[in-house]
């Protein structure tokens, strides 16, 4: 593996962390901006209010001089270096300034004109920064003489900046704390949410070690389909393994009889022709046994995980093949199927099942064979009948007996039908043998579609 795959929890953790960081960062940025804007506008408003208060308490004489009543609402105007300063100018001349600004040289150059205001930042020689609002007014005396004044109010920015910095610090603490908590919460949620997956992995591991046969039942809905399928697969493998084991054991056992017979004959008989005959007979038996058990072991058997196969296709192909092989019999066959039927089964199994049944019909039929496939809701019925001599009623039971060991029989129809019977059983289906109205045998195989 060139690149190590991230685990699911790592993927989620990384992705959510990124999203969270981006979200918190953007939040901090916008909150900070909003706070800045609001403090700026609050400060602006405050400066404006100071100007209006000053206007209310200012007395303008006929000569244009200004006297300010001592009781300005804001005590900071009277405390030196308080950080709040005011000045009234006309032209370049300062005609009034607050006590707080005494000793400070504040040159406030802006003259925005009557009823206009100008907000600016100015730097003092002490390097302190002030936010200044200049407001222009016009005073008209009794003679109609106009005096232009500019009222300047400045506030030290240090306090504000300090406040802002404090807010930012607070903001970072809070957002950082929230982010950390969210990350921890998210990690916990992930662990909880993904636990079923870890459980499945642990379960599978237990199966691997052989501690368990199948996955436990209780999984969340989303995993259920998967675990059910895994269980189905496990069951299917298990039953196949059993079939393998059984057919191997059966094969070993059933081979012993013909071997014993042949050995006995070799030991006891001095007639070479007789020995040869018995040898041939027992070899045939061994060969049939091997064929049968091999086929049994190879049967896939029922599983809902199998892909769908078309019965129509398989039957048609077998019929075309058999027509070729039994050409000289010139059999008239009739194959009826309303619509093609698909079932979940192994193709090889279906070939074996239908091939054996159909070949028997060709072999034992005289001139006519009827094949009828009927599709029902969950099952499919396959009728195969011929016009041969049929099978005597008393033999019916033996011929389609389930799982019958064929150690002793296997003649003619025996082997093929034993295989057929086994496959039908492996697919949880049924096989019936009846007398055909054509005169011969009629096999009816019912298989589940799923």
């Amino acid at each position: 593996m060139p690149i190590k795959q991230f685990s699911l929890s790592n993927r989620l953790l990384i992705a959510v962390s990124f999203v969270l960081t981006a979200f918190l960062g953007l939040s901090a940025f916008s909150l900070n901006n909003a706070f800045q804007a609001s403090t700026d506008s609050a400060q602006h408003q405050r400066l404006k209010n100071h100007i209006y208060t000053m206007l209310a308490s200012a007395e303008f004489s006929e000569q244009g001089e200004v006297t300010m009543s001592d009781t300005l609402a804001e005590p900071n105007f009277t405390i030196p270096n308080s950080g709040l300063y005011a000045q009234i100018t006309t032209g370049q001349e300062i005609i009034w300034q607050s006590k707080s600004s005494l000793g400070l040289f504040i040159a406030l150059p802006n003259h925005p004109g009557p009823s206009n205001e100008h907000l600016s930042t100015i730097e003092l020689h002490t390097k302190d920064k002030l936010l200044n609002l200049a407001y222009g007014i016009v005073w008209e005396n009794e003679q109609g003489h106009h005096f232009n004044y500019t009222i300047n109010v400045s506030e030290d920015l240090n306090a504000i900046n300090l406040q802002k910095a404090k807010f930012q610090l607070n903001l970072w603490y809070w957002l950082g704390g929230t982010g950390l908590m969210l990350l921890i919460a998210q990690a916990l949620i992930l662990r909880w949410g993904l636990r079923p997956l870890h459980d499945v992995a642990a379960d599978l591991h237990a199966i691997e070690r052989g501690d368990r046969q199948r996955l436990l039942k209780n999984y969340p809905q989303e995993l259920n389909q998967l675990t059910q399928n895994i269980n189905t697969l496990l069951d299917h493998e298990e039953s196949r393994r059993k079939r393998y084991k059984n057919s191997l054991a059966d094969l070993a056992h059933s081979l012993k009889t013909p071997l014993a017979v042949f050995r006995g004959e070799l030991d006891n008989s001095s007639n070479i022709t007789e020995v040869k005959d018995i040898g041939h007979e027992q070899l045939d038996r061994i060969s049939s046994l091997v064929d049968y058990q091999l086929q049994r072991a190879a049967t896939e058997g029922h599983s809902s995980l199998q892909a769908r196969v078309s019965l129509g296709d398989i039957i048609n192909k077998i019929l075309i093949s058999l027509d070729k092989v039994y050409q000289s019999k010139s059999i008239r066959r009739q194959f009826e199927m309303e619509r093609d039927v698909f079932i979940h089964a192994d193709e090889g199994d279906m070939y074996e099942l239908l091939g054996n049944l159909l070949e028997n019909a060709y072999k034992y039929g005289n001139k006519r064979i009827n094949i009828l496939v009927i599709s029902r809701l969950d099952n499919v019925d396959i009728h195969i009948e011929d016009d041969g001599t049929g099978i005597p009623k008393h033999a019916h039971k033996d011929i389609i007996k389930r799982g019958k060991r064929i150690d002793t029989q296997v003649e003619g129809q025996g082997l093929g039908l034993a295989i057929v019977s086994d496959i039908v059983t492996a697919y949880l289906g049924e096989i019936k043998l009846e007398k055909s109205h054509l005169g011969g045998a009629s096999f009816i195989v019912t298989l589940p579609k799923q």
Binding site: A298, K324, V325, S328, G348, E352, L354, G355
Partner: protein, 226 residues
């Protein structure tokens, strides 16, 4: 009748060859798909026996290539696994019959003769032309119930001519179908064999069973009796 056997298992191939030769059949054997295909394309056979699991070129491929090159002689496939899917695949690709291993030689022999008969339009297992009968499984030839005696090559010639009774058969065709591959082929020998056949089948010259068509070949004139 000339048979092509393509089988990779050496013991089975030798046994088959010997047993078929014992039945007075001409046999060419190949050990793998490529060699088998070469023989099948190069010579004309009456029946081919092809194992499905072959090295170099699978039996199915050999059959498909033979059929697509226009070779229409009957083909019998041998399958070791005896699975229906294999049988159907083999028959679909152009084979005419199948036999699962292990098999009885009698069964194989019966199938081969049946295929050869079917290909040349015979229905019965015993070939009858006028008063002459030939039984391929016992290799016995009779005229009016009297058993006639033939050498191996005479029998092969008669067998082939009876399978194709009524058809004109050239000398080359006769040579092709009675001699194995690599045998010194002298078509003048055919004339000698035909002369002997005429003498043995028709000692009193009343039947005149074989007609000579100058420059074209020979024809068995006796009517087929089915």
């Amino acid at each position: 009748m000339r048979i092509l056997v393509i089988e990779d298992e050496i013991h089975l191939r030798d046994q088959l060859t010997q047993q078929l030769q014992k039945q007075n059949l001409t046999v060419d054997a190949a050990a793998d798909g490529e060699q088998g295909l070469y023989l099948g394309l190069e010579y004309s056979y009456d029946v081919a026996i092809i194992d499905l699991g072959l090295p170099k070129l699978s039996g199915i491929d050999v059959i498909q290539k033979l059929r697509s090159s226009g070779k229409d002689f009957p083909i019998l496939i041998l399958t070791a696994r005896g699975r229906w899917q294999d049988k159907v695949e083999g028959l679909e690709s152009g084979a005419d019959d199948y036999l699962a291993k292990p098999f009885h030689f009698e069964e194989l022999s019966a199938r081969i003769h049946a295929l050869a008969r079917r290909a040349s339009g015979w229905a019965n297992s015993i070939l009858r032309c006028g008063p002459i009968t030939l039984n391929p499984s016992s290799q016995q030839v009779t005229r009016d119930q009297t058993v006639l005696d033939f050498t191996a090559y005479e029998y092969r010639l008669l067998h082939y001519m009876m399978l194709h009774a009524g058809e004109i058969i050239s000398k080359t065709e006769l040579v092709d179908h009675i001699y194995e591959q690599g045998y010194d082929r002298d078509s003048n020998v055919i004339e000698v064999f035909i002369k002997r056949l005429r003498r043995k089948l028709d000692p009193d010259k009343s039947l005149n069973p074989i007609e000579t068509l100058r420059g074209r070949g020979y024809r068995l004139t006796l009517a087929r009796a089915h």
